[in-house]
């Protein structure tokens, strides 16, 4: 059920974040429901694929399925459905890798240099964020047994380790949602982009599916970040919105990093995650 809500609301959040950023930049910006219109428009268009493509026609469906599984396994407003409750943090990380793997293969299939470059960068930075994501989420569930998704959340107050884990996760979210210090969603300027570059050769319904998958993933990551913040259940949607606003502010008021400075940012994120887990295991939580 919550998965359906995520799928339906994901484009809306994307539109709202785009609107907010446009306003911060002094532009009126497109309407908040523009992403829905874009998806419908793309869906009606013809699908084009590069000559000799064998797997690219199936990859969008797979990527969308991965994003939907991510949405279904999130413990939003209670535990996920009985079927998806067996998904844990490790399985989630490996599942997201599967989607990325398929998209990379589809990109390498096109013979285009731009897509190859984007694929290479996407896989590189994904490999560098994976340990951070895993360790940060593990720090959140550390005292318990196992790493089930529904062990996340339910914190009642800010703790030092929770704050560090959240900081790490925030940087991971910036990377995974292709936001500005790391990537740029809006540009098709091929030398700077990572995630958009993978989608260059997709069109029509395929592109619609990939866009929807990216929007679902964005909302899921924000929801994952909000799980690390304390508060009653009604605070949870507010935290998601606040995270979206925060990311938009970061994106507006910071410059894009040079490609080879990104690893330093990701290393910082890993240090946050590592210090979080160190505090969780060896330190006393602050009163």
């Amino acid at each position: 059920m919550s998965a359906l809500i995520i799928v339906v609301l994901a484009p809306l959040l994307h539109g709202a974040m785009r609107k907010l950023r446009a306003r911060l930049q002094g532009r009126p910006g497109p309407c908040v429901i523009q992403p829905y219109r874009d998806l419908v428009k793309l869906w009606r268009k013809e699908a084009l694929l590069p000559e000799g493509a064998r797997i690219a026609g199936y990859v969008p469906g797979l990527v969308l399925g991965v994003a939907a599984t991510f949405a279904a396994s999130l413990p939003m407003l209670g535990s996920p459905g009985a079927f998806f409750s067996s998904v844990d943090i490790v399985a989630l990380v490996l599942l997201l890798a599967a989607g990325r793997f398929a998209l990379t293969l589809a990109a390498l299939e096109t013979r285009s240099v731009f897509e190859g470059m984007a694929a290479s960068r996407e896989m590189t930075f994904a490999a560098l964020t994976e340990p951070t994501l895993l360790i940060a989420l593990f720090a959140e569930v550390a005292p318990g047994h196992g790493v089930r998704m529904d062990a996340l959340g339910g914190a009642n107050a800010f703790t030092l380790s929770g704050a560090a884990a959240f900081a790490a996760l925030f940087l991971v979210i910036l990377t995974e949602t292709a936001r500005i210090p790391i990537d740029n969603q809006e540009t098709h300027y091929e030398l700077t982009m990572i995630h958009e570059g993978l989608l260059l050769e997709f069109s029509g319904p395929h592109l619609a599916m990939l866009h929807l998958a990216a929007q679902i993933k964005q909302l899921c990551y924000l929801a994952l970040g909000a799980l690390l913040l304390p508060g009653y259940w009604w605070a949870y949607p507010l935290w998601i919105l606040a995270l979206g606003v925060a990311i938009t502010f970061v994106e507006t008021f910071s410059a894009k990093l040079r490609l080879y400075e990104i690893p330093q940012l990701l290393a910082t994120a890993f240090l946050f995650a590592a210090s979080s887990i160190a505090v969780r295991f060896f330190g006393n939580p602050l009163p």
Binding site: A47, L48, P50, G52, A53, R54, G57, Y58, V59, P60, G61, L62, G65, V66, A68, F83, V87, D88, V90, A91, L94, L95, A97, A98, R100, F101, T104, L105, A107, L108, E109, R111, S112, G116, A119, S120, M123, T124, A126, A127, L128, P131, L133, L134, I135, F138, A142, P143, G144, H145, G146, V147, L200, E201, P205, H206, M209, Y260, F281, F282
Partner: protein, 618 residues
Amino acid sequence: MRIAGVGCTWIVAFSALISSMQPSVLPMVRIESVVPFLTLTFGASLLAAPFLVLLGLLAFGVGLWSLYRGNASDAMFIAAFCFAMLATLLAQDVAAFFLSWEATALLSAVLVGRRCGDPRVRRATLLYLLMGQAGALCILTAFAMLATASGGASFSAIAAAAPTLPGGVRNAAFVLALIGFGSKAGLVPLHVWLPRAHPVAPANASALLSGVMLKVALYGLLLVVFNLAGPGSSLWGIALLGAGAISVLLGVLYAVVDRDMKRVFAYSSIENVGIIVMAIGVAQIARANANAPLEAAALFAAFFHTIAHGLFKGLLFLGAGTVHEIEHTTDMERLGGLAERLRWSAPSFLIGCAAVSALPPLSGFVSEWATFQTLIAAAQARTDASTTVVAIAALAVLALASGLAAACFAKAFGIAFLGGPRSVNTSDTVPFVERFDASNAALALLASACVVLGFAPKLAWDPLAVVVSHVAGTSFAFPTLARLPTVLAILPILGVIAASIANRACGVRYVPTWTCGSQVTSSNQYTATAFSKPLRTIFAFIFHPVREEKIIQGTSAWFPRQISYQTKSRYIVDEGARGLLAMLFRFARGTRIVQSGSLRLYLLYIVAAAAAATAAAR
């Protein structure tokens, strides 16, 4: 010749499978000899059963592949090699184990050195033999120490006496076994022979080398750690965990930047052996702390990854062999677009690549997931601070490695099999289209094993539970694992089905790739070296990339006639090993002074030795 060899390989495979079925029923075979110490005992044990299953399955697949491809003259050696490994796994005393071990080493060296016309092959074989024999010496010393201390040479006698042995003997035996078996299994820094020897061997031999022989070495390690050297301390486990983590990290880093397909697979084997050793380390820590459920879980992860890795790595090496026979190279910069030509092998190869990247719902996912869970449980058990720290560090290393492995194998499949052909040679030959034959049936068989083990880990679950509960005393509990792969895969599979229906219904138009108006040529595709360039730059402190650029100037500085560009990585561990070797040689040359050749000096030595012996005896 070929048929006979494959037949013998299959006989070995079936006997391996049969001996793994009912280890307790089979009788022990004793071969008496005139020399009193040389009584050879063979018999199946529960600990060896997972390894026997792996040997049986992979030897069957390799035999099937060899029916159609590979050199006919190799087939008999392959069968003999399989038989030697079977004997090693079945050995029940020190002499039998060591003789079979040496037979395995020599036969595999013969296979590695098949194409000995190439000086590179000769050097690789020599290095392999040297390191293998040095390792065997360590193993022999360890076994001899244990056997003399416990007063019996059969494994059951040593295992029975093990708990009463002095700690020093057991610790020394552990260290020697770690060095000896670790050098055979390819643990960093004793791995230097592996990325040289595995790629030069024929494909079916390297499939068995990477798939089974490394695991036989791990079986030896397990045998010593869990049975023969008795209950060890948790320091042993931490040492294993650390050695595994280093192998995982360096193995995958070197794999991701390499451009030769077989060398990529060889480095990836180092990574995967590291994963198994990490799991064994967790099991040892848990055993030392009497945490039987964790020990059982870690052993399950180790055994499952042993079988899973053997199958998919065998599949990948055989696939590389097919590629080599068609294209006469395994250099990824010269390959491309193979999916169109190898239309039967390519899907199996893709499944192998996805399985080694630990992607759900394949076999590699199950074992890597289980390894993650055991590391997490080891950290959560909080036995002591050092264990927790090492477990968390290993967890981070494994997460990084799984991401890098995905990058590495996306590259291996994407560059070699997708896109268009890269070198001029491949595009000029007459269009070759693969037909269904024994070799790609073998690949498909191994690939379906990866899928079945991934979707239904239960299949391996119950047999492994018997083995694990024999070793650990209790069984493992992964309540969610039985349906986890299905849960993860169902929506993506539905998505793929929906996409294919939509493609069928609405139609897809195929158009040339848009590259800003320039022509799409095969030479301006992204290359394997370029794909791993960001990683080479980021991990420059490990790779120390060297870059050479040559520009041949033309009429003007703006229009050079030719630019050649070369980039290389330095291999720190290899350079260290080479330095050590040079030091040894210098030392050996230095000791030559005592060998003057003068008779009087030798007489003086004898007198001095006699005097020293008398003095020592008094």
